[in-house]
């Protein structure tokens, strides 16, 4: 007689609930993190490293299942396997009724890539997974060189901390009056300018990444007394305006910016814990000046990034999830309503920019790692920034063939005297 092991399961967190409902073959809600090493990747070693890493991230062993009212994660005993890159960038991972892992690990020449279905984790969470994977890979690959000084990985969250649903931990509970007030105070989104273009064949993602020195870019940003994120956002807004047809000039350009909530509320979860804010810029009369855009965007960032605003936003999101009316609706109906809400929200967004920030790895590894980069999931043209050491990689991912915005963006940078190295899958 064999005793079947009890199958563990967990609920999805607030942000995760959104992704299975809205993912489809055009917008699979998959993002990629790449680490480019100095040497070619050895697949056997990578597999060993992956076997070790997966034990430290139990949630990554989950498959997504459909319940009557909600989706849920169920642990599986599928062993993740390292593959050579043969799929298009950010190809769909989650398919209805299929029980498969929600991430994949593969390599191509010098690159280790992981692609993650967004319901499993956000960029920061997946980056921790990636860092752990690269850590083990380099430890095994270069064990002779690192023998006398085994570096430490500075991510010591416990398993339960990594599995934490930080959204529900932050939720202060019911208060209908307060929640109604925030719900009605939130302003209606105006229709934003939409970038149009020719779809790529098979809904593939066009990736253009530009690598540059972070020092040079920061120097340029400091000339305007601003941060790198605001500087690059403004440059993106200008590039979009350059490409915009004259008849559309009345619409504002709205950037959707994800905020990593771990820096505001204490959490070390490897699951989703982010929120988004919309930063809008409308060209009034006169010419487009980078200086003016930076000033306006800088103010918007300051206004949105307060604890009060973030709390309000979280509260609103949790209210939608936790109210009894929404909870008893069967899953297929929920999916339809989420899709409708998503379409309405999308009307208010032009593009997205996300600064994943500085990736830190033990100093001993600096001779083995060349760069880290992140490819966002694409519904619309999106941009991410990721820094390792002095190397900043700006990645544009777009569902369109046209590259005018990317060209304007990188040309502007090289005009400022920043040397840009482009690589692409086009």
């Amino acid at each position: 007689m064999n005793y079947p092991k009890r199958v563990e399961w967990s609920k999805l967190d607030n942000a995760s609930k959104f992704f299975p409902a809205t993912s489809n073959y055009r917008d699979p809600k998959v993002f990629r993190i790449s680490c480019e090493l100095v040497d070619e990747v050895k697949p056997e070693v990578l597999q060993l490293a992956l076997d070790k890493t997966i034990e430290r991230f139990p949630l990554y062993k989950s498959v997504l299942r459909r319940g009557v009212f909600w989706y849920y994660f169920e642990t599986s005993d599928i062993r993740p396997m390292v593959e050579k890159e043969t799929n298009p960038v950010c190809a769909p991972i989650y398919r209805k009724y299929e029980k498969k892992l929600l991430f994949r690990v593969f390599y191509y020449k010098k690159r280790i890539n992981i692609e993650v279905f967004h319901a499993l984790s956000d960029g920061t969470g997946a980056l921790w997974f990636m860092k752990t994977l690269v850590y083990y890979y380099l430890l095994i690959r270069h064990k002779d060189e690192l023998a006398d000084k085994v570096p430490e990985l500075n991510y010591d969250a416990s398993l339960s901390e990594k599995m934490d649903d930080s959204f529900s931990r932050r939720y202060p509970g019911w208060d209908l009056k307060r929640q109604m007030e925030t719900l009605f105070k939130s302003k209606n989104t105006a229709k934003a300018y939409h970038i149009r273009g020719t779809r790529t064949d098979e809904y593939r993602v066009n990736v253009i990444e530009g690598a540059m020195s972070v020092k040079a870019a920061l120097e340029e940003a400091h000339k305007y007394n601003t941060t790198l994120t605001v500087f690059f956002s403004s440059l993106l807004v200008c590039s979009i305006y350059e490409d915009m047809p004259a008849r559309k000039k009345g619409y504002p350009v709205v950037l959707s910016v994800p905020i990593n909530l771990r820096q505001f509320f204490k959490s070390e979860t490897a699951r989703n814990f982010f929120s988004t804010m919309n930063i809008s810029y409308r060209l009034e009369e006169g010419r487009l000046e980078l200086k003016e855009v930076i000033k306006s965007l800088g103010e918007s960032f300051r206004r949105e990034l307060t604890e009060e605003r973030l709390n309000q936003h979280l509260d609103g999101l949790m209210f939608i999830e936790r109210n009894p009316l929404a909870r008893v609706v069967p899953l297929p109906l929920k999916n339809y309503s989420i899709r409708i809400a998503n379409t309405i929200m999308d009307m208010g967004v032009t593009a997205a920019i996300s600064n994943v920030g500085q990736v830190t790895m033990p100093l001993e590894f600096s001779g083995f790692i060349h760069q880290f980069s992140v490819i966002p999931n694409v519904k619309r043209p999106q941009m991410t920034m990721c820094t390792y050491g002095d190397r900043l990689v700006v990645t544009f991912a777009s569902p369109f063939r046209e590259t005018e915005i990317q060209k304007a963006f990188f040309k502007a940078l090289s005009k400022m005297g920043i040397e840009v190295e482009i690589s692409s899958n086009i």
Binding site: P4, W70, Y72, D201, K407, S414, K415, I422, S423, S424
Partner: protein
């Protein structure tokens, strides 16, 4: 790395054209072209060719049957039956294909769909009562047996099929209503279906009660 003279950026990977402006990159003697960063992935061809051919044949068959009916009229509107027959088949096949990764779920849904279709057909061709007399009870019995055999043969783990076993067992009890409401003229198949269901249900409840409870908690959480 090669410099694109138009964009003033360096191209890292092995390219003949600049990915930004599309212009051909000049061959520079001093600089070496880099290696690929991304692999070239050939287009994937559509693999559902069989389905497309079958769909095409179905439509042609329907059109032809209507034409024949127009040319050689009969009192029975048989092209309608061809149309409905093909629609029923497609409904059943597409559902089975969509759920092919979860075999017990697929069986359960087939029972529901085919049951509904038999009632519809029975009604459509003049109510004779064969759907309730024979079709549905026999479907229920067959489903329970097939589910049990596939679960054993494919060595599925208990959690994967227990919920569908429960549903199958409950559905098999439904024919008791046919007898109580006097909807059937032949009641042997219904009686057997109910009997098998009760035995089946009691077996899974007694031996897998804990698993059923856990499965329900998981699937029904609100």
């Amino acid at each position: 790395m090669i410099l694109c003279k138009h964009c003033k950026v360096y191209i890292r990977d092995k390219k003949t054209n600049c990915p930004l402006c599309g212009n051909i990159l000049a061959d520079d003697v001093n600089s070496i072209k880099g290696d690929d960063v991304y692999p070239v992935i050939p287009p994937t061809y559509e693999r559902h060719l069989v389905i497309r051919i079958l769909l095409f044949i179905s439509i042609v068959a329907i059109v032809i049957s209507y034409i024949i009916h127009k040319l050689f009229p009969t009192s029975v509107n048989w092209p309608m039956l061809v149309l409905l027959g093909l629609l029923s088949t497609w409904l059943s096949i597409t559902d089975a294909l969509r759920k092919r990764h979860n075999i017990t779920k697929s069986i359960m849904w087939q029972v529901m769909i085919v049951s509904a279709l038999t009632i519809f057909w029975d009604w459509k061709i003049g109510w004779k009562g064969w759907s309730l007399d024979y079709a549905i009870p026999i479907l229920c019995i067959a489903a329970m047996l097939v589910m049990y055999v596939t679960a054993k043969v494919m060595k599925l783990s208990v959690v994967n099929y227990i919920a569908y076993f429960l549903l199958g067992g409950l559905f098999g009890i439904v024919p008791v209503l046919f007898i109580l409401l006097d909807l059937v003229t032949v009641d042997i198949p219904s009686i057997i279906s109910v009997a098998v269901s009760i035995i089946f249900l009691s077996a899974i409840l007694i031996f897998q009660g804990d698993n059923i409870k856990q499965e329900l908690q998981k699937r029904m959480h609100i």
